[in-house]
């Protein structure tokens, strides 16, 4: 009967040891070695999608086909451990309808001829656990720069032919703050735009 406490203690010991040796949150959120370094965005396998409410009813989706830039992960760089420098070609907007695309490229919306790119440059990134990061950065659209916060999910890293890593960023902006106001005043088109950017990087 004296063996019972000893057996319990023996069974609990590994759990206690695991508890005390568990990595801190930052380390748990750190990315695998395959994700370290500088990556160029794979323009074929990356895209940005946006969603906006139309006529107060449905959610309308569109996408940008040309996304380029760089992703960099340096574990020892503190709040700049993870950084993004992304540029989206506004003329690549694709709603699936030619006439609507023309309207979206016009000065009513993205004014692609004057502002061929909208950009995002991160300024800080902090891990939020479970492969999630909170990334803050400056987004520039129509010549207006605003600080935004994005939730970024690390989606994977692997070496097959090239060394690749993937991220998915989600954020919401108010387009009127950037000077894009078509349909905002009368509510025909929502002001809030939810943006999802899927990025795949190829190591340099």
């Amino acid at each position: 009967m004296r063996l019972r406490p000893l057996l319990l203690a023996a069974a609990a010991a590994p759990l206690l040891a695991l508890a005390f040796t568990a990595p801190p949150e930052n380390a748990a959120a750190s990315l695998p070695a395959d994700a370290e370094g500088r990556f160029n965005v794979d323009t074929v396998h990356s895209m940005a999608m946006f969603r906006v409410q139309h006529l107060g009813a449905g959610q309308f989706w569109g996408r940008f086909n040309d996304v380029k830039g760089t992703i960099e992960y340096r574990p020892d760089a503190g709040e700049k451990a993870l950084s993004f420098d992304i540029s989206i070609d506004t003329a690549s907007v694709d709603s699936g309808h030619d006439g609507l695309d023309r309207h979206l490229r016009s000065p009513d919306f993205f004014n692609s001829k004057e502002f061929p790119a909208m950009t995002f440059k991160s300024v800080s990134a902090s891990p939020a656990g479970n492969g999630m990061w909170k990334v803050e950065g400056d987004m520039t659209m129509l010549g207006v720069t605003k600080r935004i916060a994005a939730e970024v999910e690390f989606t994977g890293a692997k070496t097959m032919r090239d060394r690749r890593c993937g991220f998915e960023a989600v954020f919401t902006i108010k387009r009127s703050e950037f000077g894009m106001n078509w349909g905002v005043e009368n509510g025909s088109l929502g002001d809030s735009v939810r943006v999802i950017v899927g990025l795949e990087g190829i190591a340099n």
Binding site: S92, G179, E185
Partner: protein
């Protein structure tokens, strides 16, 4: 954009023009011998300019004053066109030029105004794609020629004819802009069209021409609107079609044989202008796919790999920019 907002953007400026004309012309006190009869009132160019600026402000909101986007400078262009055209009515200026060039003072002041507006546009309207020297020269030419050729007609022709011609050209340009995808510009040009219609109706009822000062202002503003429409259009429509509505107005300046009579000549000119504007609008409809024609972009994707043949996985099948 709701119908109410569109109506407000187009009809308010027209009301503005009508009010300005009624006050400045005072048609209830017709004085056919008035020296300013054909020259025109200072109020009309100012009213048309204010109407266009109001329409642009209603479309773009306060951001229009930021001049952040190049097309925002249309408000500056409108102010220049309206202000310079109105300034030609300054008595001391007309008097001084009349002394300088006896019998040709009014022509001189109006031509100088056209030249001044054209050069001011050259330095204020830096629209996309217009940075090349040839394009800037083109802008100068496009503003200068109509402004110099249209004021004599606007001071001579029956008000209904000149106003109707400006209305047709502006309506056509507005339609082209909307098919090009630039609705804010289209609606604001609609304001110029309704202003021209208001001027035409009032001029007809008052039995007087629209006036030379208005001729310069309308021509210059339509030139600026044409330049903006063309600059932002990516339908592939050749530039000549964009210039056709404005160029067709030059028919007003061509004298016709007296056998046609004043009314017959005016009707013939209006018919020719309507045809030219219709051709430009139809060309834009075709280029923009409004007739349902598949665009080049749609056709380019299958043609990269042959009809019916799937692209290899991972290949970039997007047409190059």
């Amino acid at each position: 954009m709701s119908p109410t907002a569109i109506a407000a953007s187009t009809l308010l400026p027209a009301g503005f023009v009508a009010a300005a004309l009624l006050v400045s012309w005072r048609p209830w006190r017709r004085t056919a011998a008035d020296a300013a009869f054909e020259f025109g009132s200072f109020a009309l160019p100012l009213a048309v300019a204010a109407g266009w600026i109001l329409a642009l402000r209603l479309q773009e909101g306060e951001a229009i004053w930021s001049l952040r986007q190049r097309w925002h400078w249309l408000v500056v262009a409108a102010a220049i066109a309206g202000g310079v055209a109105a300034a030609t009515t300054l008595p001391w200026l007309r008097g001084w030029l009349a002394e300088l060039r006896p019998g040709r003072g009014d022509a001189l002041v109006l031509n100088l105004a056209a030249i001044l507006i054209a050069f001011a546009f050259r330095f204020t309207l830096h629209l996309p794609g217009a940075d090349a020297y040839a394009d800037r020269l083109m802008l100068l030419f496009v503003v200068l020629v109509p402004a110099m050729l249209l004021w004599p007609a606007a001071g001579r022709e029956p008000g209904i004819a000149t106003g109707a011609a400006f209305w047709m050209a502006a309506t056509g340009l507005s339609g082209m802009a909307v098919m090009g995808g630039f609705a804010k510009l289209a609606i604001s040009i609609g304001a110029i069209a309704t202003a021209a219609a208001a001027a035409a109706l009032l001029a007809a009822s008052a039995r007087r021409p629209v006036g030379a000062t208005a001729g310069i202002a309308f021509a210059a503003m339509l030139a600026a609107a044409t330049a903006a429409g063309r600059a932002y259009d990516d339908s592939g429509l050749p530039a000549a079609f964009w210039h056709l509505p404005l160029a067709s107005l030059l028919l007003l300046a061509i004298p016709l044989p007296s056998a046609w009579g004043r009314v017959g000549g005016s009707l013939l000119r209006l018919l020719a202008i309507a045809v030219a504007v219709g051709v430009a609008v139809a060309a834009m409809a075709s280029a923009s796919g409004a007739f349902g024609t598949p665009s080049e972009e749609d056709e380019a994707i299958p043609s990269l790999y042959g009809f019916g043949e799937a692209a290899p996985y991972g290949a970039d099948v997007r047409p190059s920019a």
